[in-house]
Symmetry: D2
Subunit: 223 residues, 4 copies
């Protein structure tokens, strides 16, 4: 299980965070994690996974795995294979890779069996409540209108965070991460004050001019 | 709101239940509903909808609408347009037409606003609990391994029904319909004894040699 | 078969072109078609189809049908059912409703058998050549970067039209319609001068302040 | 470019061909390729790719890559990243991972630019002709009704192969591989006599009791 509060960095398929660039970025983040003791995890693509996993000590997630069993499934990977490769966790249902509710339930269930962390992304408080009933390890709530933008949800709509945490707790107290527009240590700090157990961030690190500086700034918000 | 206990007949795209065949089947079912006083609704495709709606008094649902607003959405229909055409309700997330959790939440929300009934299909108890958090009007639980088969869930796995109702109630007491393999009045009776508020049925009526006899038999189970 | 040159108006799910608004718009377009003798067809959603088909004399298309046979296909419609309802043709593979190549081939094949016109949308010259091998009735080439915009392809990239027509003819001489950004009679005229057999238009009519004026202007370009 | 005639082995997500099992299978196949001089390639999942690529000399393909550019594409990989990791080629549009025609065209185009082989799967002669217009390196024709079965297309429907090759050549002479049900060296021999440039095989090798024996038998058919 990830230590909280946690910063999860989604590398997406940003050119600055894929292939050798992704490896370099992962090493920078891992170093900051060690220097500061901050709990940080990264979510990478399956081609880069092994290379990055072998070079860092922090947890490495996949950004997606398919909700399938072994079999005649050309072009798919599953959580059992990911586990064999040493995966620490999976992002599920990111806004750029939505899944059916049946598939989300299947993945959370299988991940628990094989011992892999799950973070299920959601888009609002109601959907977060629904996902809470499935008992993933984390819910990452990202209002779609703020994703990729410059305003963090903790700043723009703090009530979206508190409402989400409240309704999630009424169903099942799954820890909530906050995503969408998180950029600075202040954003992180605000999110945690509002009750979040961490943040899910992407472009703020992956596309930063100085990723080391950006991740150090974020980490300040955890302290 | 549908009166319960209710029988919902999904016409799917069965040849025996589409076009003129669908209209005939709908009239047979509507007649039985009137003769017996049983609460019955049908779910039809959008091309047949108006023709059937104009010919019966029972509620007529659509089998699917898209989770979109008006706009540049070629080949889509939405709940607002369906409402303008006089729709009574929508099936959402049928196993043959799965949706993302974000889209299910959107549809349930929009349907409430425009005043249209919602039945969200699920595949097991956990997923039913998740959907309960979205407060649809009904949840129709259909174990996928029993769909289209000859053994009803109320017979093959009664504990699947009681477990679903229990876990749904622990989140939000949404009435549960039972689907998959329901064929006879005895199946209906058993489902209702187990706590279900009705059944969702398809091939048992649509593909019956004598649909009138089949629906009358089902109705016996409601009494 | 549609008479050429033809103007095909895609109503999409624009609020101004759906439900009663869609019926009114269809009547306006039908009147212009009769007054001018211009060949015009409209593509509508399946809920509005019958209402519009019953009120106009011009050909009425569906914007999409699914590539499925009759059977257990909840939430789907097929070309056989559409034909029973009197459909004149179908749009296939619109950029807002892309299909697999296997499904496109299936639909074109089935539509030919039941006697329904097909217009397959494409996004560039190469894809148009591929589709030509399937022998649909028409190919509508719409560069995605111009869809919904204010600049017509015939103006912005006339060579895209000539190149498409040339490569299509080298495979199979399927008539080509031009879409994306068509707004005025001049755009239509230019497209036809370049070798197109008509245009596919949406927002230019559906969202016009004065649709009658807009369609009359377009028709001038045919003459 | 692959040497022809070629045997392409699709590992799918068979448990016998994934993870360490996949590595072992790849080594067996690579050894047979070296011993016999036969041209053989394998198509693997992205998690296993690097491990297998580093252990064999034969070409290693991915079973699927997404038709996306670098950017905010969580859970996707693209051909540019695959190339950086040393990929030799990609399977495109397998029946278990269908794509839109626009995406197939994009992938074939990008693969050519970065220098990666492409095999596009198709389901019949007409679709093969359409794909030929996109100029991939190979077309693998697999009648869906024969996939995973015990009867090879070269035996059950030899005319499907000759018809496909003929219509493909009439558009663009792309070499054709034959898939679906290929099991034995005789099947391979027959396919090549009919004009195919090789075969695409999956369960016949991946699920064989003795994969070494199975691949050796296939190779006999090439000679």
């Amino acid at each position: 299980m990830l230590e909280t509060p946690v910063i999860v960095v989604n590398f997406k398929l940003y050119e600055q965070a894929s292939g050798k660039n992704g490896l370099n970025l992962a090493k920078i983040i891992d170093t900051v994690s060690k220097e500061t003791g901050a709990s940080i995890a990264v979510a990478v693509n399956p081609l880069d996974f092994k290379m990055i996993k072998n070079s860092v000590d922090m947890p490495v997630f996949l950004q997606h795995v398919d909700a399938v069993e072994f079999g005649a499934k050309t072009g798919r990977i599953n959580v059992e294979l990911a586990k064999e490769h040493g995966i620490d966790g999976i992002l599920i249902n990111h806004s750029e890779r939505r899944m059916t509710i049946a598939d989300i339930e299947y993945l959370v269930h299988r991940a628990k069996i094989v011992g892999v962390n799950t973070i299920v992304c959601t888009n609002n408080a109601k959907v977060s409540a629904a996902i809470a009933a499935l008992s993933p390890d984390f819910i990452a709530m990202e209002p779609p209108e703020l994703i990729g933008g410059d305003v963090s949800v903790s700043r723009a709509r703090p009530e979206a965070i508190t409402e989400t945490i409240k309704i999630v707790n009424s169903v099942n107290p799954v820890p909530v991460l906050v995503g969408a527009g998180v950029k600075t240590g202040d954003d992180v700090k605000k999110a945690i004050e509002l009750g979040a157990k961490g943040v899910l961030i992407a472009s703020g690190i992956a596309k930063a001019n100085d990723p080391r500086k950006a991740i150090i700034d974020l980490v300040q918000g955890l302290m």
